[in-house]
Subunit: 261 residues, 3 copies
């Protein structure tokens, strides 16, 4: 039984996600379909890239991840199918697979061109249903990976995924804001923890923090804290409140770590 | 394994949808349950009707669709069970199955009366859980369709589902607004495309468009476009923005197509 | 195949719920995972307690319920694993299992301490993924209940779950507001119905009602009604409108029933 995950910006108001599941089950009745996230900001491949990157290691080998954030649907952008560490990723070539590919220099990248793996009729506005869902189902049912289409060289990359700097100063930014308003940065846990050993200051807009906390609840409700988040990145959070309110701290806000002497 | 889909106006804040799944799995542990849509406008059978109608062809034969948008729960409205093209539909008699039945003059319509297929205790306010979910599970497990109850003649119909007009002018309306704010009309793709061959104008409130676009991305962000949507109907969209803002264009807005000389 | 339900305050914007499912399927590929509710108010164990309590009887024996509303994550609060009436409940010790335990004086309460049933690496902020999901999966796959950890005596209780009073007057409160704005109280159906036999008045803030209605639709749109809700408690509702608007009637509002002479 193949596990197929779905990440979209469709929300759950409409039947778009459900219809993709119908297509998958019509091809592979034994597929186990998991919703990864559907309320990502519309038309934002970077959010989908983050969602995929931070989820992948928690799914077993063989899992097939489909990400449909696709503002270019109907244009000539390619549909990518990537194999990395025993997992498969399917998404439009718009940056959604950028972080995955960045971390696996040797991974196999193909463009989906095999018409037999798609629905007989392909609409102009819903390739999640007509192209990506059926490819996922066919792969889940056993179609060899190499049959999806030819290997291609490079893909569209999102800018500046990695924080910059060295052992004394790191300059990163907020790359994701979660439902709780926690501000997740692109600063790796290991880098922040190494710096924290000798003392650490964190500056993000008007917020200035010293050191890392071990849990949200080490501070009082409403207070700010810097913490190693569950995704393996530094997070800035306000206990029991949304950190992104007021909105001076939000997606893209610069976050600077400095080692203290 | 039966596929059972759920369409409700319950949202996902409460446990109502989850409890229906518990009831189904208690009767048919092998059921594959798919959420079709749960954030439909509360108390609006027309939205559920649209959701079902545009989803049905993407699910395999044997699928059982349950739609619980039920403002009349506890009154004496009937629960309908309809069989059409190898699929089964279960919903209150309030218009939710109206479009399905309109397209299948010969389909089999029954009223659910067989008490053995329902939960032992039936509440006054949640027939999705106590009546519709267990019937779906029993049918999925193999109970013959004819045992749900007697055939009935007609059902409640929603008004004016079809656009009106001929080859030179079609008058339709916006029948659904999706999460992206795309305005989906009741004008069939084939009718709009036939008219587009010789040139076409589209008028909807203050929006005047010439011709159809092939994809959202053929226009610039913020610009309007008329497009054949993935559901098989004409859509009016604003690329990367919500078409229903400002709200002069919304559910029910008249849309007029004219063939150009 | 084990049924595992998930109740969280994570919403569906992020991948937190999906990642928990990945962890479960990695351990128990045959698990049937059901979303019970994910949009509970953030950081509110009482809402999770209500969601679990009113759902449990609709799931088959053997079901494992996981509730992750966990503002204290990373502190030294325990993770509870409770067995009651053939079902298992897993949640932080913050009141989320309070109503379940209150109704089963003899149920078995253990603290999760068996490190082998958790993920190899445990983050400080996401024990739903690292602790609770893997325990649920291991139990679903057959690990004996007693292996999760030692029995413990008592747990944290939420205040005043039961309405107070006798046959002539009951004083309760609104304990849950659902998506429709229905105000669900902690007054048991049987108590309200017994009182209604000889006539009954209901006072809640500015709303004064006489007697119970049989269904929402017995009153006109916008009118108030008191009704026995599907969860087995007295509800105050406004037909086709939200009862919690204006917000004088909301979570915690006192509701007084009086028997009429």
């Amino acid at each position: 039984m193949a596990i197929i995950t779905l990440t979209t910006d469709f929300g759950l108001k409409d039947n778009y996600v459900g219809v993709m599941k119908g297509v998958i089950l019509g091809i592979d009745p034994g597929a186990v379909i998991v919703d990864l996230a559907h309320d990502a900001p519309a038309h934002d491949p970077a959010a989908a890239a983050f969602v995929l990157f931070t989820a992948k290691d928690y799914f077993p080998e063989g899992t097939i991840h489909v990400a449909v954030v696709d503002p270019g649907v109907g244009s000539d952008r390619a549909i990518l199918v990537v194999r990395s560490e025993g997992r498969v990723y399917i998404a439009p070539d718009n940056g959604a697979l950028s972080y995955i590919v960045e971390e696996c220099p040797g991974c196999e990248i193909r463009e989906a061109t095999n018409r037999d793996l798609m629905l007989p009729e392909i609409s102009r506005t819903f390739h999640g249903r007509d192209v990506m869902a059926p490819i996922a189902a066919h792969l889940g049912k056993g179609t060899p990976f190499s049959e999806v289409g030819p290997e291609i060289g490079d893909i569209i990359r999102l800018p500046s995924w990695h924080a910059e700097g060295g052992p004394d100063e790191i300059v990163g930014r907020v790359t994701y804001v979660d439902r709780f308003g926690n501000l997740i940065t692109n600063i790796r846990a290991a880098d922040a923890e190494a710096m924290a050993k000798t003392g650490l200051s964190i500056t993000a807009a008007h917020v200035f923090l010293l050191g890392l906390k071990n849990s949200y609840s080490e501070v009082k409700p409403g207070q700010w804290a810097a913490i190693i988040g569950s995704s393996g990145f530094l997070e800035i959070a306000r206990y029991m409140e949304k950190a992104d309110h007021p909105p001076t701290l939000t997606l893209g806000t610069q976050v600077v770590l400095k080692r203290m002497a």
